[in-house]
Amino acid sequence: MRSVYLLLLRPAALLGLLAACALLGGLLAGALVWLAGWGWAAALGATLPLVLFYALLLPSAWELSRALPLARGRAWQGLARYAVAALLVGGLCTLLAWAWLEPAAPLAASLFALASGGYLLALLAADALQAWAGLRDAEHRAEQAQARAVEAELLMLRNQVNPHFLFNCLNSISALTSFDAAAARRMTLALAQYFRQTLALTQRDWITLDEELIHCRGYVEIEQVRFGEERLRFDCELADGAGAALLPPMLLQPLVENAVKHGIAARSEGGTLSLRALRQGDWLHVQLSNPLASAAGASGMGTGTGLHNVRQRLLSLYAGQARLTLRSEAGQFDVEITLPWRSES
């Protein structure tokens, strides 16, 4: 946060401050003229420098209340801090006035009270303002996080059914009917099973990694009919017990679909998707790798929306506790997800 003193660099703010000083100085000088019988010139000469000094001191109340809010520590500590600061400021002003003017004792007392009281009020006002702004900020952040969560869930729901996947599958089935009716039927059933499972899984808040992987495998088996089993291979390896991990449904499926679309479909020779999952203490690591498209095949690269959606979902569901990292090297693209470990037991 920037210092409030930087505001004085703006001509309008500086002019405003000077005008306020002139007004206050005039009023105080008037009081001196009427109450103590001073001459106007002497009174103004005394008050104006003093008021200017005070005005330059006053914004420090904002900095102080920001650095040491009233609410920090016990209540009396906060108040005591502010009181000491106010008394110091009042004392400083009075001391300066003494050195400058040697005023009569009653005037010095009221000056001390005025300067201390004013500074204390400024401190309290600044503190209240900042507490209110902080509250508003927190509310705003909570609202934003909520909106992101809703958006991510909606996107996930929409992405459950990728229409192009469906249309391409139907085209394959259409082709199979004329020469391999049994295969056409198998693919129809697999597709129905896949969509039914998608609906069932997304009804739940948490599913096991095993369930998610069965679902991913269902997807890959359908794609294997389209691309051929030699062009798309899926190799899945779970370390002991990792399958019991709980995770939000359809977290990995979009990544597998992405890998098929941009990694395998963009290569004439195809390739192997490999998925590794393991538990490490309180964390679950999942890594998905696919070969990259060959040099001329850059058209296969996506726009990154799929990955962006996964990242948003992780953010809204795990609030910064989950991590998604991407690595692209030696013709291989890796996505790694790290989640806090969660299981039924």
Binding site: H164, F167, G297
Partner: protein, 240 residues
């Protein structure tokens, strides 16, 4: 009339379906099948088929890039599951699109339409192709395929029916008019500064006056390109 056809799709089942639907049209002879863009490019040149059934999403080169590189302008029927491409093609009256999955009746209609237009080039087609993918520029030099990204390009020069694409390392010739080439690029990055010159604004160092009327654009690496009066009017608002 006997016609030849080439089937291009990376999915074997999709090619098989086309073959199946073509059984109803014995006068059409299938002369080849290709599973990716590069094979299709070679087959189009070697076989010169009358009809081309072309998938859009394929490994390597996309269907649109195959057309751009081969310069083919007639007898194309696209097959795709993406309706976004189809809409654009209909707007340009380019060619017919078969949206997967499609019926025999729909296939027959597209085929009849394509045959009717057959001897003619469809002018919208190269326009569709040119607007294909501004992220990369493909150039074929003899049998080698070069993939350039627009950032690499310094300037482009019109030479009769070719454009000559200059990068800091080399110059490549491509069979395309400068107007067509320009249409496929980002207009905020590439500016036509002269009847036969297009420059990459990111590579422009300064404009230099030479003599009374002559203006030159100095590009990174020191290459100088003439700027016409109209070219100066086009480039001026972009320099601010």
């Amino acid at each position: 009339m006997r016609l030849t056809a080439l089937l291009v799709d990376d999915e074997a089942l999709a090619r098989r379906l086309l073959r199946e639907f073509l059984k109803a049209h014995p006068e059409i002879e299938i002369v080849g099948e290709c599973a990716d863009g590069e094979a299709a490019l070679a087959a189009i040149e070697a076989l010169a088929p009358d009809l081309l059934f072309l998938d859009i999403q394929m490994p390597g080169l996309s269907g649109l890039e195959v057309l751009g590189l081969s310069g083919r302008e007639h007898g194309v029927i696209f097959t795709t599951a993406h309706e976004a491409h189809a809409l654009r093609a209909f707007e340009l009256h380019a060619v017919d699109y078969l949206l997967k999955p499609f019926s025999q009746a729909r296939f027959d209609r597209a085929l009849a339409q394509a045959r009717k237009l057959l001897p003619l080039a469809t002018p919208g087609l190269q326009q569709l192709v040119a607007a294909g993918n501004p992220q990369r520029i493909l150039v074929r030099d003899r049998q080698q395929l070069h993939v350039l990204s627009p950032e690499q390009v310094l300037c482009v020069e019109a030479q009769d029916d070719y454009v000559c694409i200059h990068t800091p390392e080399r110059s490549l010739l491509k069979t395309q008019t400068l107007a067509e080439f320009e249409a496929g690029l980002d207009p905020l990055r590439f500016v036509r500064v002269h009847r036969s010159w297009l420059i990459n604004l990111d590579q422009l160092l300064q404009l230099e006056r030479q003599g009374k009327d002559q203006l030159l654009a100095v590009l990174r690496g020191g290459r100088k390109v003439p700027v016409s009066r109209a070219g100066y009017e086009r480039i001026r608002p972009l320099l601010k």
